[in-house]
């Protein structure tokens, strides 16, 4: 059971958060006055009268930017994983089990990431030249 100890905190937060939300909304409905009028049923109670439909169409531009963001963003996950092991501190180079030195390892890591970033750069150049970043 001791594996579960780290999860106890998470569990407590979950329980607490859920409880907080439930209790508060229950309190509101129980204590608050319940007078209904049409103005309360509007989307915004700030006095602005909503126009048009609720399903607003988002312009395609947003999707385009969203797409580009998504793709380039997700590549950082590789950078993260790479950065963790880049220095090679976890590897016991002295043991003789590996056929290379720490420096070689770092050079190799740098080179590999350079290729990766380079290809990514090309993709970015492509998107840029094709007008993917222009807002119009």
């Amino acid at each position: 059971m001791e594996h579960l100890i780290p999860y106890i905190a998470i569990g407590m937060i979950l329980v607490f958060a859920a409880g907080f939300a439930v209790v508060n909304s229950l309190l509101g409905t129980l204590i608050g006055p319940t007078k209904d009028n049409p103005a309360k049923r509007l989307a915004y109670e700030s006095g602005m009268v909503p126009t048009g439909e609720a399903n607003v169409r988002i312009p395609i531009k947003f999707y385009m930017v969203g797409l580009l963001f998504l793709i380039f963003d997700i590549e950082t996950i590789f950078l993260l994983a790479w950065a963790v092991v880049f220095k090679g501190n976890q590897i016991d180079f002295a043991s003789g089990n590996v056929g290379f030195t720490q420096t070689q390892f770092q050079h190799y890591g740098f080179f590999a990431m350079a290729v990766f970033i380079g290809v990514l750069m090309l993709a970015e150049i492509y998107a840029w030249k094709k007008g993917g970043f222009e807002w119009s």
């Binding site: 089990n97 590996v98 056929g99 290379f100 070689q104 390892f105 190799y108 290809v119 492509y126």
Partner: protein, 491 residues
């Protein structure tokens, strides 16, 4: 892994993937040239692509696999053996062929050429690595890379609803199938605790599955079943083939050709590696055999019946591809009943990879060369022999080869496939497959009859033939005969 064997990178590994690297670099070069050059550069694109593919082919033949039983690269992620070697040559040649026949088609259909060539090369790259995959993740990544390239290529035509719809179907069903494949991989990983095929094979052969799910062999069996579903999609095995006719019909013809040939060749090679894992497992449930048997029979039935009354040439080729996929799997069934036939089965499948690739791509090549006329109803092929004897001859040859007429690769290929089945004593299957291939003559001949024995439509004119197209078609025709007369050149 043994101590001292860990290296970062070495020339041996690089030499084995050199063709793929060449392909990748030239794809990027094509991309840049397309981006930064004005009018002049556009016409260079096909040449650059051809150059890249040609160089990759040369590099592959000169530095690749050296006839050893097999070679391992990148810590066992890639495995190069005879089948892979030939499949890769076939893949590169098919791509080269399609690049040769497509320039005029692209201009006519206003397909963005830069992207087209780049994606074609990336697809070829993905197929090359896919066919050599020896690890679950490598296999999955390359399968997805290949699929992505093909999704985009399918819908690359602007303002063509058919093309867009085809891309939509291909994309959704493809992703759906990929998810099944991935879930199957999950189970295999869970049962064995390894992703390298070499490790998995050792674990399976030892009989004790070490993974977290290893206690229950149902997970492993289920995993293989789901992977069969995923590959069933790529190989257009019934009942996972439904998308194929629609996608082929909607996609630009050369792309349909690539989907039908290159991607299938790569997938068959990759599936064969999975299959080797399956039969390495001593406790393989008999159900796998029956399931595969059912899939094969169903594919042959669906493929042949679907093609029987099909008016559209590309859909016809799609259905014929379904039945050919069924034929592909026959030697695997034979190996399951009598494992000593493994070597023969591998040779038969390898040869059929080439045979199937050559004859199918030739048919698609003719359809591409014909342009808009070539991808519609078979009726448009009426009297083609009068309008363009070369095209008609090439098409007739491709179809006769699919029928299995001697001195074509199709005959030798089917002969070897069925011979393995008979060797294993699978008489009902052999008889059924033979009958089906006899019946297939009906719909293949329909096209030949149209081309040779009917009058062309009144308004039809002779069809001019581009130099590059003629060259490619001629090469295809030569291959159909050459490898049939001298199969020893292959295996």
């Amino acid at each position: 892994m043994e101590p001292n064997s860990i290296t970062l990178i070495n020339s041996h590994d690089l030499a084995l993937v050199a063709p793929a690297i060449v392909l990748g670099v030239s794809a990027l070069i094509v991309l840049l040239v397309d981006l930064f050059s004005m009018k002049l550069g556009r016409s260079v694109l096909p040449l650059l692509t051809l150059g890249g593919l040609g160089l990759a082919l040369i590099v592959h033949v000169t530095t690749g696999y050296r006839g050893a039983e097999f070679e391992i690269a990148f810590d066992g992620c890639l495995r190069f053996d005879r089948m892979t070697y030939i499949a890769q040559i076939v893949i590169l040649s098919l791509t080269l062929f399609l690049t040769l026949v497509s320039p005029l088609y692209l201009i006519r259909r206003r397909i963005p050429r830069g992207e087209y060539y780049v994606l074609i090369m990336f697809a070829a790259l993905a197929m090359m690595v896919l066919s050599a995959s020896n690890e679950l993740l490598t296999l999955f990544i390359n399968l997805e890379l290949l699929s992505f390239c093909l999704y985009i290529l399918t819908g690359i035509e602007q303002g063509n609803l058919r093309s867009t719809e085809a891309a939509f179907k291909y994309f959704t069903i493809g992703s759906y199938a990929a998810a099944f494949l991935l879930f199957g991989m999950t189970m295999v990983y869970g049962a064995t605790g390894a992703t390298h095929f070499d490790e998995i094979r050792v674990i399976l052969a030892s009989g004790s599955l070490g993974g977290a799910l290893g206690g229950n062999s149902l997970f492993l069996a289920g995993g293989f079943a789901l992977m069969l579903v995923g590959f069933g999609f790529k190989l257009t095995l019934a009942p996972f083939h439904m998308y194929a006719p629609d996608v082929y019909a909607g996609a630009p013809t050369p792309v349909a050709g690539l989907i039908a040939t290159g991607s299938k060749v790569a997938a068959v090679t990759a599936f064969f590696a999975i299959f080797e894992l399956m039969i390495a497992w001593g406790d393989l449930p008999a159900g796998v055999y029956y399931a595969l048997y059912g899939v094969v029979v169903l594919s042959i039935i669906f493929g042949n019946l679907g093609a029987l009354v099909q008016p559209n040439i590309k859909r016809l080729l799609a259905y014929s591809g379904v039945s050919h996929s069924g034929y592909f799997m026959i030697p695997l069934l034979a190996v399951m009943t009598s494992p000593e036939l493994m070597d023969k089965a591998e040779l038969a499948v390898t040869y059929y990879l080439l045979a199937y690739g050559v004859m199918t791509v030739l048919a698609f090549g003719v359809a591409t060369t014909l342009g808009p006329e070539g991808e519609r109803d078979i009726d448009r092929y009426a009297g083609l022999a009068r309008r363009s004897p070369v095209l008609a001859a090439a098409m007739a040859l491709a179809l006769l080869s699919m029928t299995g007429v001697p001195i074509t690769v199709g005959f030798v290929g089917k002969f070897r496939l069925f011979a393995v089945a008979v060797d294993a004593g699978l008489y009902p299957l052999a008889i059924f497959a033979l009958l089906a291939s006899v019946a297939s003559a009906y719909y293949y001949l329909r096209v030949v009859v149209k081309m040779y024995m009917e009058e062309p439509p009144a308004e039809a004119e002779p069809i001019p033939l581009e130099g590059s197209n003629a060259l490619a078609l001629l090469a295809g025709v030569v291959c159909i005969f050459l490898f049939a007369v001298l199969p020893a050149l292959v295996v």
